[in-house]
């Protein structure tokens, strides 16, 4: 069970990384769906997809933070959209939440599809 979950996370990671590399942000639910399909259970599928995509996005953002003045950019962006310095981190949080939701919803959908397929197989 745990093994399937971990494989689901790993599969999502790989797919999300590949899609992101191609610049296709809207394919993140598909990455999640692939992981969820592997896990086959709704709750775990959600978690596998959510974690996989969030880890990829998080890793990218960490990389940007390491190689460029991301803090300055965030402060600038916060100024432009009139968020104020105190909320400059908001885009990062928002990005991670979006990644989590896209991966998670994709994951649960993938798990459900696997379920339907299983039902059809039994027949």
């Amino acid at each position: 069970m745990m093994k399937n979950f971990l494989i689901g996370v790993a599969v999502t990671l790989v797919a999300a990384f590949a899609f992101e590399l191609a610049g296709v942000w809207w394919a993140m639910p598909i990455a999640g769906a692939i992981g969820g399909y592997w896990v086959r259970k709704g709750g775990q599928g959600f978690l596998a997809g959510a974690l996989g995509v969030t880890m990829v996005w998080g890793a990218y953002l960490a990389l940007f933070a390491a190689i460029s003045p991301l803090g300055e950019l965030l402060r600038l962006f916060a100024g432009i959209v009139e968020l104020g310095d105190a909320l400059a981190f908001l885009p990062v949080v928002l990005a991670l939440v979006i990644a989590f939701l896209m991966g998670g919803l994709g994951g649960v959908t993938g798990a459900m599809i696997a379920g339907v397929q299983g039902e059809l197989g039994k027949r």
Binding site: L70, L73, F77, G79, I80, I98, M102, M112
Partner: protein, 842 residues
């Protein structure tokens, strides 16, 4: 199947919510772009953190360069480009411009061509329609078609475009600058030579278009031709070598146009369209420029010195981009405009030049008589002619294409058909060859080559100050000045008769110029270019002559002048109008300034040296007093004539600012008013026509305006005169093109006003003035200096976004380092290096 139904419902439900989430993330949220692409790691906001950054050493390859190009960027981010050919250098400059200023370049070309809607959507359609009517793109196409395909200037422009596109290919779509991320745009249209020519036309339009004809037409309607001739004379007092004339000999001929309502309806529509498209100047959009050259007879080195400070609106990213270009054919340093591969103001090994705007009248308006039987015909010079129709297609982001029909008569595009049909004729509408002129100036090394190059410089007409290592100094007012069959073109004319048509242009041999005068100096500050007996009519919208007056004071007294002296003169804040008028005005108020505040103000003015320095309280008092005194002289006449004012009463409603200089406001020229104050105290215009039983005099107005000025300053800044320092209430404003607070800069106190060589707008926010200060020593051309209020980078995250603003505010300059090879550059000033090599593309 029934057993499967819950499973299917769950599946479709989760799929539905997944799709909804993706769709929501793909849709822009109000002013914010879609969150999905904005926050995605690749292609999202994050990569913008590297905007404007350069590695210490970079090595890149492009198919578009033939040899190796070495670029050394100094500590201010100024590139020194060493290339083996002119085209390779142009390629490198295009690549650098795109890397540093891509969004600015794109916005500029779109504003010029009327294609902003493609970028920002339906909100820009009306502005685009106006710019399509004006037709800068058509003018650029005409220029392109007329250029010889072997023209080296064209080759440079092709290479420049290839450099821009090489950059675009490398970065798009994921690493576009921040501006594009915020707009949610993921592709930038390829750059073309036509874009360069269109942008050149835009600069020409910006510096030579004028809607003053509409104002003069309205003035003539409301006040009568005689009064307009009196108040807006072609020959002004104190204009050297002009003698005062009162009343003037010349008359504005009445336009002889149809009824007022129709005319005013057309004018209102035209003004509204121009204002909406941002093409109408406003009070406070202060402009003007200085340049001068002194001969070796007046300098310490025995060689000429040239100074140039074009006064334009301050902006970020900066209008200018400094660059030094070295090839076997050229060695030129100066400021370029992003979008063009040429140095506009600068120096080569042996010559230096600087520009001021001539402000000549090269734009007229004509009413057209449309055939009531056939709306595509108009009456012109005795016959019906066909209106040329052009279908302009405006692509709209997020909307359907808009087809806009441009109608063109023999005079030019029709800009309104509300009330009357009015067409605009502008000297820049056809093919003009400024690009070729700039290319040749960049390669000129002596006077004859310089003059030969100017032959191609047509619009906007410019006063070119010149100096060379051979000891020559000169000014040429080069440009394309229309010759009219009759009339002066300063009001809307009846286009049907053909009597006001343009018949040609002033021959280049006859443009105003001066070479090596006995005085030992030449200067221009947007004043009238030629004396009254000059055989051609050039215009009438010259700047007030006070900056020129001060520069002439300094130069005529100067001996043993140095570069430092010239820098001091560029920074000079002495107001020569105050110098001329306060000796007349102060005695009038000396007896009535009895209370302590008025007395303090009077004492400050009495002790004043006329310098509008940041610590001067007298400067603040003078500027306010001047403003109120002028206004009270003229406002009553304008109100009586039926003009409406804004709520504050200091500007005409709906008119913006007339003239090239925003400080002109609506009033007659300052010199005329100065002359009235000094020598015509009984001039009838001092009487307030709204008080029929009372005859106010000049002195009444001086006293009343002084009291009002002091009271309004006390109301605004408090009763303590110590709080009235000029610098406290006159601060720099350098706004970003998008006018977003966090991207704007400024707030530093700045000296100067509109009547001092260090020209600045006189309002509390100085948003225009010396946009580039340059002093070139022809005795040692490698030790020349320049500075502009901005920085090389267009990225707010770049180190060079605003790093020259502080220097500029402090009156400091950066050395224009001028090596002929990379090894000659002092290592301590090198920030980074880039090698561009030919890439075979294998």
């Amino acid at each position: 199947m029934a057993l499967m139904r819950p499973q299917l419902i769950k599946t479709f439900t989760s799929l539905f919510f997944t799709v909804v989430l993706v769709v929501v993330l793909a849709i822009p949220l109000g002013p914010l772009p879609a969150l999905g692409p904005l926050l995605s790691p690749v292609g999202g906001l994050w990569s913008a953190a590297r905007d404007g950054s350069f590695r210490a050493e970079e090595h890149v390859g492009f198919v578009g360069v033939a040899g190796t190009v070495e670029i050394v960027r100094d500590q201010y981010g100024v590139p020194h480009i060493f290339a083996q050919s002119d085209t390779d250098a142009a390629f490198a400059l295009g690549w650098l411009h795109a890397r540093e200023r891509l969004a600015q370049m794109d916005l500029q070309r779109r504003s010029a061509a009327g294609t902003l809607s493609e970028l920002v959507g339906p909100d820009a359609v009306e502005d685009d329609q106006f710019m399509r009517d004006v037709g800068l793109r058509r003018a650029a196409q005409a220029t392109f078609a007329a250029m010889d395909e072997n023209d080296p200037a064209l080759a440079a422009m092709y290479a420049y475009a290839a450099g821009v596109n090489a950059y675009l290919e490398k970065i798009a779509p994921n690493s576009l600058p921040l501006e594009y991320k915020l707009l949610g745009v993921r592709s930038v249209a390829e750059w073309s030579v036509l874009d360069e020519l269109t942008f050149a036309k835009f600069m020409a339009w910006d510096l030579s278009s004028s809607f003053d004809d509409l104002y003069v037409t309205t003035l003539t309607e409301k006040m009568g031709a005689q009064k307009v001739a009196e108040l807006f004379p072609f020959d002004r007092p104190y204009e050297s070598p002009i003698a005062p004339v009162w009343p003037p000999n010349e008359n504005v001929t009445s336009a002889g146009l149809p009824g007022s309502n129709q005319l005013q309806s057309a004018i209102a529509d035209l003004l509204s369209r121009a204002a909406s498209a941002g093409q109408l100047r406003h009070p406070g959009d202060w402009r003007g420029s200085n340049n001068w050259a002194v001969s070796g007879a007046r300098t310490a080195s025995g060689k000429p010195i040239l100074a140039s400070d074009p006064h334009l609106g301050y902006q970020l990213p900066s209008l200018w981009y400094a660059a030094h270009i070295v090839t076997p054919n050229q060695n030129v340093y100066g400021v370029t405009l992003v979008g063009l591969p040429f140095v506009v103001i600068g120096h080569t090994r042996n010559i230096a030049w600087g520009l001021t705007n001539t402000q000549a009248d090269v734009m007229d308006f004509f009413t057209e008589k449309i055939n009531p039987e056939a709306e595509n015909e108009y009456w012109h010079d005795g016959k019906w002619e066909s209106v040329q129709a052009v279908d302009e297609v405006i692509h709209v982001r997020g909307g359907a294409d808009v087809h806009h029909e441009v109608k063109i008569t023999a005079h030019g595009p029709i800009l309104t058909q509300k009330g009357l049909t009015v067409a605009m004729q502008w000297a820049g509408s056809g093919a003009t060859f400024e690009a070729r002129a700039l290319y040749n100036v960049n390669h000129a090394e002596d006077y004859s080559a310089f003059v030969a190059a100017l032959r191609d410089f047509q619009v906007p007409a410019q006063n070119w100050a010149y100096a060379d290592t051979a000891g020559n100094i000169a000014i040429w007012s080069a440009g394309k000045y229309p010759i009219r069959k009759s009339g002066d073109g300063r009001a809307i004319a009846d286009g049907s008769t053909g009597e006001r048509d343009w018949t040609g242009f002033v021959p280049f041999e006859d443009v105003p110029r001066v070479l090596n005068p006995e005085s030992g100096y030449v200067l221009s500050a947007n004043q009238r270019p030629a004396p009254p007996d000059y055989p051609y009519f050039l215009g009438w919208q010259w700047d007030p002559s006070y900056r020129a007056r001060r520069i002439e004071q300094a130069l005529s007294a100067g001996q043993g002048l140095t570069v430092a002296d010239m820098e001091i003169l560029q920074l000079d804040a002495k107001d020569t109008l105050a110098e001329a008028l306060l000796p007349v005005m102060l005695p009038v108020v000396s007896n009535v300034a009895t209370d302590s505040l008025n007395k303090s103000a009077l004492d400050a003015l009495l002790a004043w040296d006329y310098r509008t320095g940041v610590d001067s309280t007298a400067a603040t008092i003078w500027v306010r007093w001047l403003d109120i005194f002028r206004r009270t002289t003229w406002a009553d006449e304008w109100k009586a004539a039926g003009f409406a004012f804004n709520d504050k009463g200091d500007e005409l409603k709906d008119w913006g600012a007339w003239g090239f200089n925003g400080d002109n406001e609506y009033q007659p020229p300052l010199e005329l008013w100065e002359w009235m104050v000094r020598e015509k105290p009984d001039a009838p215009y001092f009487d307030d026509v709204s008080t029929p039983g009372k005859a106010e005099t000049r002195d009444d107005l001086i006293r009343a305006s002084f009291a009002e000025a002091i009271q309004s300053l006390a109301d605004d800044y408090g009763p303590d005169i110590a709080g009235w320092r000029w610098g406290e209430h006159h601060k720099l404003e350098v706004n970003h093109l998008l006018d977003v607070g966090v991207l704007n800069r400024g707030g530093q106190p700045v000296p100067g006003d509109g009547n001092s060589p260090n020209g600045q707008g006189s309002g509390p926010a100085s948003g225009g003035g010396p946009s580039w200060r340059m002093v070139v020593d022809l005795g040692d051309i490698a030790t020349s200096f320049g500075v502009y209020p901005g920085g090389q980078s267009g990225s707010p995250l770049g180190a060079h976004y605003d790093d020259m603003i502080g220097l500029w505010v402090e009156g400091k300059y950066i050395p224009m380092v001028f090596p002929s090879k990379p090894e000659d550059i002092d290592a301590s000033i090198i920030e980074s290096g880039i090698i561009i090599e030919h890439d075979r593309g294998e």
